[in-house]
Subunit: 438 residues, 2 copies
């Protein structure tokens, strides 16, 4: 009697979790390992950062999602290393052997070698990132309210978002709505609507990976919300008080106390480790350049899927790091391994692009669905429907999301909590004053 | 022309917030100061600690609650001192003069002089406390799942809750439901239902402040959920691996990796500061012994309300530190100050006790409403109705709470996130093993 093969999946994001679920009826034991005990619905993370949703609303415990799947075990642990020759992975506190390995540990934001910027310009990948950004945004308004020096006060009202991909665009739109509508009449000495939100992009338009028509629509929507957009501009430095920007030959220091980073990604460390251990080619972002069946060259038993994979066999350039690619690769990985276990031949992976979309604000979005382009209300409704459907798939939280959609529509944002660290000193100039609410 | 008087309220809990709201039509400027930017619905904090609700679900931004109140300003700040002679308060970064002062900064948990226990036995007063307790509870199950030494594994499955007042009883009940129902089939090597939850109380029964009949009902409900209760037992020490308990002459060390503290409170530091500065009597817990109109003796312009006040004029002993007392004192404080401003005479404060209740779990609660006693289903429905109504009062979150009540009824707990600190080493013994899901 032969033992059932053991499939180990590292990472419970869209790619890893969809692979695990699609292995439900496979004749194999599956182990899913993640550093966190929950799957995160990352496309809505910017809503947590702007107080529209709570972390718990967009996180599903991995054990709960997989509890009825009898062949799947979940391990909470951090994978430090892989040994492809001995076919085992090394956790911080354990070692686990595998017959087949799926690596889907994704990417983190990148500062292009300037990691010292992170302190002043946090990125948005984890729930902790999101609550930290929420804390900074809300504290900036509190500090502006207390500050009596007009120059410092203005610096608190200046927000800079670096990078105009979907995350940067969505953050800018949500921040503008928070300031202009949700916080209306909340303060005495400042008018939050007078906020200054700058979106800085190195490319020549917002949403550079979308078709130009939708970029133009998104641009117009953002400007309608009061966001000022600077394209062809590169950040050359970030410090506690300023963002330094280069536009052509012109160098400028923009005073801003709140800077958010949405400008680039780098692969998680397992990419480089796999490259070192297997000789697989690694691209400039640290992603593994996989074969057309998503396997690591020369190691058919190891697959890399999701954002960590660079798959160039379809279009010549890597597929974008978005949830639909990860989900399809997860399902494909399960199908391929089931075939391999049975000794059946496999097909190369192929991505079916059903479209892309981005949301700018209430009733404002852009969508490109297989050539059909939508913007404004219809795009927003499509966006809402797609996101609610995915969320409800994992857990029965329909009412929470109906409530949230309603709040979003009415511009209420209930989860505006400043949590975590101690209060900073909000006021730099010490002077009393009295005033009536604005 | 005389300037409008300035009323400063320190603390945006039930007492302070209700006072601010009740001053809406007062001919005065009101300033509400709080360290946090939100009002917290503390009676449901144990639900956050056990993954049933997210912090955002039970927190309302103070600025949002008060935004339509034109005579009320909100300041996010920490009050360090009060100067009753110069009639001003001192913030960390500012000074604010007052004509009338309401102090409602409440209480924190107390370790009766053994503050070193806090590291191993966190208490439950803030949202950070709640997410920390949630983290510890969920990590304990993860560690038990990974551990191969049966003794250490058992220690991870032992939970001790110190103190059987409403918070301790509610925590014990919610933890039992989490383990026995929500986490069912979530693990491979442990059965969470085999958890060992011990509730330790120094008094002779659970819920010592309730009538004995309801204590007995709560006791029976907890035992039905598998909670073991030890009354007349005092904690003499807490360390990373054990709780030391004294029961009569018997001293015992109970191995437990998770200890939660619900055993006592002490007043926030402003109580003692007021005592030092005004000569007002301070009780053993640090609370201010107020006059029958809730003012500080000899300082009619300063009132202390909510948990920070010790009001003994009605029953001879201090009123309990519960939300209804705080709300009624908040409304009374506003009424009294409005009368004072007009020069009208006031009435002493009087608490109308509409009842008390505690919830043990799904469809299990006890309630004593003006002599009418309920338990089980009817008490649970009353509890649910009262809490949902209060929550909806601040913000329109009806659907969120309907969803939550449904989750609670079906024993789903969606907010089971381990967030914050890095992962601890979950496994102490290094050995591999394989297993099928239980």
């Amino acid at each position: 009697m032969q033992a059932r093969p053991h499939i180990v999946i590292i990472g419970g994001g869209f790619a890893g979790l969809y692979a695990a679920q699609a292995l439900k009826r496979a004749d194999a034991d599956v182990t899913l390992i993640d550093k966190r005990n929950f799957h995160l619905f990352q496309p809505l993370l910017y809503q947590v950062a702007t107080g529209g949703l709570s972390p718990g609303d967009i996180a599903s415990p991995l054990r709960a999602v997989l509890k009825s799947q009898m062949n799947c075990r979940v391990i909470l642990g951090e994978v430090l290393d892989v040994d492809p020759d001995k076919k085992k992975i090394i956790l911080r506190d354990d070692e686990i052997p595998y017959d087949y390995l799926i690596v889907s540990t994704g990417v983190r934001h990148s500062y292009f070698g300037n990691d010292q910027w992170e302190e002043w310009a946090p990125g948005l990948k984890t729930v902790e990132d999101a609550t930290e950004i929420r804390r900074r945004i809300l504290l900036a308004f509190e500090a502006a309210e207390r500050e009596t020096d007009p120059e410092i006060q203005q610096a608190w009202m200046n927000f800079v978002i670096v990078g105009a991909g979907p995350t940067g665009v969505e953050l800018a739109g949500a921040l503008a709505e928070l300031a202009r509508y949700t916080l209306k009449n909340n303060f005495t000495f400042i008018d939050p609507a007078e906020v200054n939100i700058m979106l800085i992009e190195g490319g020549d338009r917002v949403l550079p990976s979308y078709i130009p028509e939708l970029s133009a629509k998104a641009h117009a929507s953002l400007e309608r919300l009061g966001v000022s957009i600077r394209t062809g501009a590169f950040v050359t430095g970030v410090d506690p008080h300023c963002v330094h920007v280069k536009e052509g030959d012109r160098q400028e220091a923009i005073p801003a106390r709140t800077v958010l980073w949405a400008a680039g990604v780098q692969a998680s460390p397992l990419g480089k480790i796999l490259g070192d251990k297997t000789g697989a080619p690694i691209d400039r972002l640290g992603r593994v350049e996989v074969e057309n069946d998503l396997s690591v060259p020369g190691r058919p038993e190891i697959m890399v899927i999701g954002d960590l994979a660079s798959f160039k066999h379809q279009t010549g350039s890597p597929l974008p790091g978005v949830a639909p690619v990860a989900m399809q690769q997860g399902r494909y990985a399960a199908r391929r391994l089931r075939a391999m276990i049975k000794g059946a031949p496999g097909q190369p992976f192929r991505y079916y692009n059903r479209g892309s979309m981005a949301v700018i604000g209430r009733a404002a979005a852009v969508a490109d669905l297989r050539g059909m382009r939508f913007s404004g209300w219809p795009a927003w409704l499509i966006w809402l429907f797609v996101h609610i459907m995915y969320l409800v798939e994992f857990e029965n939280r329909l009412l929470v999301f109906v409530q949230w959609a309603w709040d979003y529509f009415t511009r209420n944002r209930g989860a505006r909590l400043i949590t975590g660290q101690d209060l900073i000193m909000l006021k730099e100039k010490k002077e009393g004053r009295a005033g009536k609410k604005r």
